[in-house]
């Protein structure tokens, strides 16, 4: 039987431009910047779809967050996930332990209804909170093994083989299923949704849930913006005419070895 993969995604503020805080300094204001799926999770979705395809299994997607996060679920469905669960919640009230507990509740409830997930994929860390711990906390909730920070994986029988960069080179893990794996960007090229995928995704019914438990919350006091650094750049010139000044600088810095 094919592998049942669950991939978890998070809707985050697109922070490639200027970052603005909300008035209460509790969150990043996404009204101007727009939203996206966390970078590592785009790769996790791709790996989930590939693992499902190679084992003739299925990939389900899960998000915990505001009503608008349904957009992230629809994108994953358009890419090839075949079912979706949305735990509707105010994400600013949730700390990493809360998120892990909620994912575990979904995994257990799905198992009780006959859909036992073999593999749960998550991003190694979210682009906004950067907590680096939801996958690990989830593994403890479920009593499953966990592998962190991998960029490639394959399901082989009742094992997952996953690899990522370690301090001394490429490290490979071979772990029995069920397991939790957290993914880092870089091992796969996430695909883009096509029109037929988008149309199909629109028709899929999304399972909506409420929080299973009252959140303990993040231990946040407030957010602040780092102090702006005054610019003391020295302009060497404009266009091709600047070349001699650049090469002078390279000589001064001693990087122009002969």
């Amino acid at each position: 039987m094919g592998a049942s993969v669950l991939v978890c995604v998070k809707r985050v503020v697109d922070s490639s431009g200027e970052v603005v805080l909300t008035e209460d300094a509790q969150a990043v204001d996404g009204r101007f910047a727009g939203f996206t799926t966390s970078a590592h999770e785009e790769c996790a979705v791709e790996l989930a779809i590939q693992a499902a395809a190679s084992t003739e299994g299925s990939a389900a997607v899960l998000t915990i967050g505001e009503a608008e996060a349904v957009e992230q679920l629809r994108t994953a469905l358009a890419l090839g996930c075949t079912s979706a669960t949305h735990v509707v919640a105010d994400s600013s009230r949730l700390g990493p332990a809360d998120v892990a507990r909620e994912i575990a509740a979904v995994v257990r409830d799905h198992a009780a209804t006959g859909e036992s997930h073999d593999l749960v994929l998550l991003g190694n860390d979210a682009a906004d909170s950067g907590d680096f711990q939801v996958g690990i906390r989830l593994a403890y909730e479920l009593g499953w093994p966990v592998v962190n920070g991998v960029s490639t994986l394959a399901v082989e029988g009742d094992e997952v083989v996953a690899s990522g960069e370690g301090p001394d080179g490429r490290e490979t893990y071979r772990v029995s299923l069920p397991a939790v794996v957290t993914v880092l960007e870089g091992g796969v090229e996430p695909r883009y949704p096509g029109v037929p995928g988008r149309l199909k995704a629109k028709k899929i019914l999304i399972e909506e849930r409420e929080l299973a438990a009252e959140p303990a919350g993040p231990k946040r006091v407030r957010l602040l913006l780092p102090p702006a650094q005054p610019s003391d750049v020295q302009i060497l010139g404009t266009g091709a005419e600047a070349a001699p000044a650049v090469v002078d600088l390279l000589e001064t810095l001693g990087v122009l070895a002969r």
Partner: protein, 329 residues
């Protein structure tokens, strides 16, 4: 006691681990001289007495070295179990590490086991009661003040948040060896094989003295010829922005940034790169930055030490020609 999970490489305790120990001294002082211990897990390529002496010079009182068959190959759970064991015997109230992948992983396991919060990427310490830290979020675009009111307080220190420095009063650190038992569950996920990275991949970029950077301004995969030539003329490495790897112009192992390689060259020459915070996260340790950009207001230009304003397709060939001319070729 403050316990620091320390990583080593062939040269000894890594710089970021010594930064974490330096950071620990701030906490120690705030607590009226709380002792600092270090824990090292697994076999180390470094000369151990040298590591102990160096950690002592950074203010560490005792170095716990945990070895044994269970710790030969890396396993996050087993290593956390080792750190947890040391913490329990030495009753530490703070457990910290450098914010490396290993540091993050081992401490996240430890925090999950202990049922306490963990703060990742801390840059400064606010005070003991309440125990407050400031950490980087949104890839460094914002900071978060966070309270760690449970014990132990678990956190990782962001790279280069402090400069590694020896203590005013060096300590004669004591080495304590142990080989604790580990449960089979903790060994379910461990490294089964490790292949050294090919030398032309990330390794070269990480250690390069000069990195030539290229972003969307390169224009296409064909737009790299002059940039590659400049890289060769300087004997450096090419590093690119995420836009470049996402568009498939260059491979991911050349990506510099939050989700790519972190570089710290003598000179970084970012060409046609805007300097988004996620890119900056990977290049801010460069000693000197020379930006080449059409936009004088681009963050990369305003953060750089030097800049040339102009089209990289005109500026870079002119630099290459000037280098060749001065070399008489």
């Amino acid at each position: 006691m403050i316990l620091v999970f320390v990583e080593t490489d062939a040269s000894g305790a890594t710089e970021v681990s010594r930064e974490a120990v330096t950071f620990a001294r701030t906490l120690s002082a705030a607590g009226g001289g709380v002792p600092i211990d270090a824990v090292l897990v697994g076999p180390s390529a470094a000369d151990l007495p040298g590591v102990v002496q160096s950690l002592g010079s950074h203010g560490v009182r005792r170095v716990h070295h945990v070895t044994g068959d269970a710790f030969g190959a890396y396993s996050g759970a087993a290593w956390a179990s080792a750190v947890q064991g040391v913490r329990a015997t030495a009753a530490s109230v703070v457990v910290m590490a450098a914010g490396t992948p290993r540091g993050m992983e081992v401490l996240a396991h430890l925090a999950a086991r202990a049922g306490v919060a963990m703060a990742a990427n801390v840059t400064s310490f606010g005070g003991l009661s309440p125990f407050t830290v400031t950490r980087q979020v949104v890839g460094g675009a914002a900071l978060e003040e966070m309270q760690l009111d449970q014990r132990p307080a678990v956190f990782t220190v962001a790279g280069h948040a402090v400069e590694a420095a020896p203590a005013d009063q060096p300590v004669d650190a004591e080495l304590v060896e142990s080989s604790p038992e580990v449960s089979a569950d903790d060994l379910r996920a461990r490294v089964v094989s490790s292949d050294p990275a090919p030398p032309d991949e990330a390794g070269g970029l990480k250690s390069a003295r000069v990195v030539v950077g290229a972003g969307r301004g390169a224009g296409s995969s064909e737009g790299f010829a002059d940039l590659v030539e400049l890289t060769d003329l300087l004997g450096g490495s090419l590093g690119v922005s995420r836009v470049v790897t996402s568009l498939g112009w260059r491979p991911h192992h050349e990506q510099v940034g939050q989700t790519g390689v972190r570089i710290s060259p003598e000179l970084y020459i970012p060409c046609g790169i805007s300097g988004a915070i996620q890119h900056w996260a990977g290049c801010s340790s460069a000693k000197t930055i020379l930006a080449i950009n059409t936009d004088a207001e681009a963050p990369m230009v305003t953060k750089a030490s030097y800049a040339v304003i102009g089209d990289l397709h005109e500026v870079v060939p002119a630099i290459n020609a000037e280098i060749r001319r001065r070399r008489g070729a």
